[in-house]
């Protein structure tokens, strides 16, 4: 079936089997391998993308449901000229990543969170991150990064 949607600010039309998951389309056909697959039970959050601005798990999202919608992957966060998104900068500044495997999902989750909650508490943030597993960082610097990135997105120092 044919599906048209916006992917990282560009219109695309794909011809897919109706059972195709977005994560597979991105990784196998669109060469967007920043979206990762870390589990098969919808538990880890490595596969998060923004769907019309809200974070969703692309490992359980069918491409067939995307008609007319807007998808942003980790590759779409930075400026087209390469300037990092404030959340990406915050992760870099605060050592919010080690192996990098959970990072795309963390960033997507973080951007969604920052949009919903411009002035969060750390407890609110830790609660929000319940659906993202990181095995490397112990979360401490991820939390620090997202607090800083949220402030930066809302232009507080």
């Amino acid at each position: 079936m044919k599906v048209s949607f916006t992917l990282n600010a560009k219109p695309v039309t794909v011809d897919v089997d109706p059972a195709t998951r977005l994560a597979d389309l991105l990784r196998e056909d669109m060469d967007l391998t920043g979206t990762h697959i870390g589990c098969d039970t919808s538990q880890c959050g490595a596969c998060l993308v923004l769907l019309d601005g809200e974070s969703v798990k692309s490992c359980t999202l069918l491409v067939a449901s995307l008609e007319g919608r807007g998808v942003t992957t980790v590759e779409g966060l930075a400026d087209p000229d390469g300037g990092l998104h404030p959340m990406q900068t915050a992760f870099r500044e605060n050592h919010g990543l080690q192996c990098g495997f959970c990072t795309p999902g963390m960033l997507i989750s973080a951007v969604d969170f920052a949009n919903r909650n411009p002035d969060p508490t750390e407890t609110e943030l830790r609660h929000w991150l319940e659906g993202n597993i990181c095995r490397c960082t112990g979360y401490q610097n991820i939390v620090k990064s997202i607090m800083a990135g949220t402030a930066a997105m809302h232009q507080r120092a």
Partner: protein, 795 residues
């Protein structure tokens, strides 16, 4: 464009590619004409394999081929090798049964691979795998180690009586007996060190290809040590000459030990790529990883600590059963023996130690190194036992540790269990931790919590680890079948940019940054002009990889040694250009100078001149500026520290809250404090995971893994963790070039005991003296209920 050296915290070089989704992990790689593999795995923990009928699978859409153990056997494929052989206390070498790449005759754990289906797409391969008919004759599995050792137990391997791989010991049994006779008090504990499943976030994956024209294989694999995979797989399993085999481990999404073994899938795929002459890819699913990744820990231990009337330690006796699972993995038998018993002295003066370890086969997943590997297990035994002793003798837990600690002046300190600690200051770590964690204020916090109906507890753990694996001489005496040095090449290009080829592997540790800092400091080259190359046997000369907190300690030392050689070569070139004698050339602040004059050449000038040898005295001076070094350490390194943990337990629900965690670790000289702190955070949380959440559980009857997904295996998540306070303490290592000790595993070693000691301390009012890991709310609730009903019954 500046030099960034030791002690600074530049942002990581590797970050931008990961932040922008441009990392290149194995599963991201696509090769032309690539087929997909799916492994058919045993649903049984223990069964005979009868006929395998692949005919229906071969008919299925897209299927290219099906391979079974018989195919590999016919091609004389070897078994998966063990890199470390241990010897029993009776002088008998360990039992080392054949570990086939694909099971032959029998399966020995759930998930044991029996066949591989290759198809055009992963979906087709998976669908066809259901059509491979394996005729299993189920056998009674042996699941618990206690059962495995019973005379009537079924045998995992027919040629291993009583499922006993090795009955191993270290230390002086007679001396411990003597201590027992003299002791005023003997503290005793029985405990379980729970089975863990490492679960790096990137599942394992591999792609193999074969180039018939060149008769050459390439394997891309999620490995912490590509050169070792090349050696083990090429040399011992598939008989592929080393120069005909390239192993690439590109970006790898976390390892923690899980990816430091040679796995069956790597060998099967490489074999198949050769047979089919086309690339074959396999990407593990998470649920598949639960039944195919090596697992960790899994000990059952009894131990006794003998003390005199003043609370001084006289001796330690430890008896442990260590689970190997169904087969011996690459380092399996080494972990609960050589990486365990030598750590049992901790930071204490313990004149007599004896440790017996029975290494046991069961029908469970093979067990091998997982972050900390043996050392968290040793620390847990010792630090739990010290707490038991403190309670029983009435000596305060801090005081009893102080009384027995090795003081700074007593280093180097020879323990009774082989190792000699070169340096350390455990008392300073403890003092600092007491201050940072505000231990003086604890009783007030406990009282306040009690007012809210909560039990608050304070736990302390000190630890020492042996890392920087490893001095080859010592390792060889302990049974290592290879060396454990590291190698580095520093290639200075004519433009003075630097490429470093190093045999360690970066999968989160920040080596691309830390190693560049070392070079920048040493050669004065701008940080951004240095690239670290790793993970490819065709680009890097040789290497043993990354594990055992060795990369900076051993690899960094090789790097600085190679840098020294570059300076020597640079001085020769400068001597020639400046018409001075070699001895008169000094290298300072990025310049080669004639001593006592202002005549000098910059590093960049020398780099350029190295490649333009128009008037070189060629018989004494070679062109080029590239040097290589191998470094083999003379001892392990011994980081250590003191951790405090505070918990609150709700006696009605068993809910537990981690309220505070303070870690003072001495990892020697710190190259990049930001990265060290990140390593400690991650390590501590993995230890907290073991103490509170994680448990690989097998059904005792069937041998099925009960915790085989993230729904049943509880990973630490952001919302159930405290903010951790890290405060470093530095004593430089006495024998590594930069004084570094390694920091990758510290957190995981110190934390389980600190957490469980806090839990037990919290429950002290109920008379509870031990809680096994993981201390989940369910388990705590049951223990509290039990203790309450016992005390009611007693009243």
């Amino acid at each position: 464009m500046t030099a960034i050296g030791i002690g600074q915290a530049p942002k990581r070089k590797e970050d931008v590619r990961f932040l922008t989704g441009r990392g290149r992990y194995v599963s991201d790689i696509k090769l032309h004409n690539m087929a997909a593999a799916f492994f058919v795995r045993s649903p049984h923990a223990h069964a005979k394999i009868g006929a395998i009928d692949s005919s229906a699978a071969l008919e299925a859409e897209g299927v290219v081929a099906v391979f079974t153990g018989a195919d590999l056997e016919a091609a004389k494929v070897g078994g998966l090798p063990v890199g470390w052989g241990i010897t029993g206390s009776d002088g008998e070498p360990m039992k080392e049964p054949f570990y086939p790449v694909l099971a032959v005759g029998k399966v020995r754990h759930v998930g044991d691979p029996v066949a591989v289906v290759v198809a055009e797409t992963p979906e087709q391969a998976q669908a066809a795998a259901d059509l491979v008919m394996v005729d299993y004759e189920p056998l009674t599995p042996v699941v618990s180690m206690l059962d495995a050792l019973k005379p009537e137990a079924p045998l995992v391997h027919e040629d291993v009586p009583q499922n006993l791989c090795c009955d191993w010991a270290m230390g002086d049994e007679a001396a411990v007996e003597e201590a027992r006779q003299k002791a005023a008090h003997i503290a005793r504990i029985e405990l379980v060190n729970n089975r863990l499943i490492g679960n790096p976030m990137e599942p394992r994956a591999a792609i193999a290809e074969y180039d018939r024209a060149r008769d050459h294989y390439t394997l891309y694999t999620t490995s912490q040590f590509p050169h070792v995979v090349r050696f083990l797989m090429g040399g011992l399993v598939l008989n592929i000459p080393q120069h005909k085999l390239r192993v690439v481990a590109p970006d790898v999404g976390g390892g923690f030990g899980v990816k430091q073994f040679h796995y069956a899938e790597e060998a099967a795929l490489t074999f198949i790529a050769g047979k089919l002459c086309r690339p074959v890819k396999w990407v593990s699913e998470r649920s598949e990883g639960f039944v195919s990744d090596r697992q960790g820990r899994d000990h059952v231990t009894e131990a006794e600590l003998m003390l005199d009337e003043n609370g001084k330690f006289l001796g330690l006796w430890v008896s442990t059963l260590a689970n190997m699972g169904g087969y011996l993995s690459t380092f399996g038998p080494n972990i609960p023996t050589n990486l365990y018993a030598p750590l049992l002295s901790g930071v204490y003066k313990l004149p007599a130690i004896f440790c017996n370890v029975k290494v046991v086969f069961t029908n469970t997943l093979p067990v091998d190194a997982y972050r900390g590997a043996g050392r968290p297990e040793a620390t847990f035994v010792l630090e739990r036992l010290v707490d038991v002793a403190a309670i029983e003798t009435g000596i305060d837990k801090i005081e009893i540790r102080r009384r027995n600690m090795i003081s700074k002046e007593e280093y180097p300190y020879q323990t009774p269990v082989v190792v000699e600690y070169d340096s350390g200051d455990p008392m300073a770590c403890l003092d600092k931790a007491i201050e940072v964690a505000d231990i003086a204020g604890f009783e007030a916090r406990r009282t306040e919590a009690a007012r809210r109906g909560k039990y608050r507890g304070l736990g302390l753990s000190t630890y020492v680890e042996a890392c920087g694996l490893a001095p080859s001489r010592l390792a060889g005496q302990m049974g290592a079948r290879g060396g454990l040095y590291e190698s580095a090449t520093v290639r200075v290009h004519p433009t003075s940019h630097v490429s470093v080829m190093i045999g360690t592997h970066n999968h989160g540790q920040g080596h691309e940054t830390t190693f560049a800092q070392i070079v920048s400091e040493q050669l004065g080259v701008p940080f951004e002009d240095i690239d670290i190359v790793f993970g490819d046997t065709d680009r890097v000369q040789f290497g043993m990889g990354t594990y055992g907190s060795r990369s900076l300690v051993v690899g960094g030392a090789a790097l600085s040694k190679a840098g020294d050689k570059v300076i020597v070569k640079g001085r020769k070139i400068a001597a020639h250009l400046l018409e001075a004698s070699f001895e008169d050339i000094a290298f300072e602040k990025g310049e080669f100078k004639v001593a006592g004059t202002d005549r000098a050449k910059t590093f960049a000038e020398i780099a350029g001149a190295a490649y333009v040898p128009h008037d070189y005295p060629l018989e004494t001076l070679e062109p080029g500026l590239e040097e290589q070094a191998y470094y083999d350490p003379i001892n392990f390194t011994y980081p250590g520290g003191a951790h405090f943990c505070e918990v609150e337990i709700d006696p009605d629900s068993g809910e537990i809250e981690l309220c505070a965690y303070t870690a003072v670790d001495d990892v020697g000289t710190i190259i990049n404090p930001m990265i060290v702190e990140g390593q400690l955070h991650g390590g501590i949380v993995q230890g907290i995971g073991q103490a509170l959440f994680e448990h690989g559980i097998y059904d005792e009857e069937t041998g099925q893994l009960m915790s085989g997904s993230f729904m049943d295996y509880c990973m630490p998540r952001a919302d159930n963790l405290p903010s951790i306070t890290i405060s470093p303490q530095v004593t430089a290592c006495a024998h590594t070039p930069m004084g570094v000790k390694g920091c990758g595993e510290c957190g995981t070693i110190g934390s389980p005991a600190a957490v469980i000691n806090a839990v037990v301390d919290a429950l002290k009012p109920l008379g509870i003296t031990h809680v096994d890991m993981p201390a989940t709310p369910n388990r705590l609730w049951a223990i509290i209920r039990n203790a309450q009903s016992t005390s009611i019954a007693a009243e």
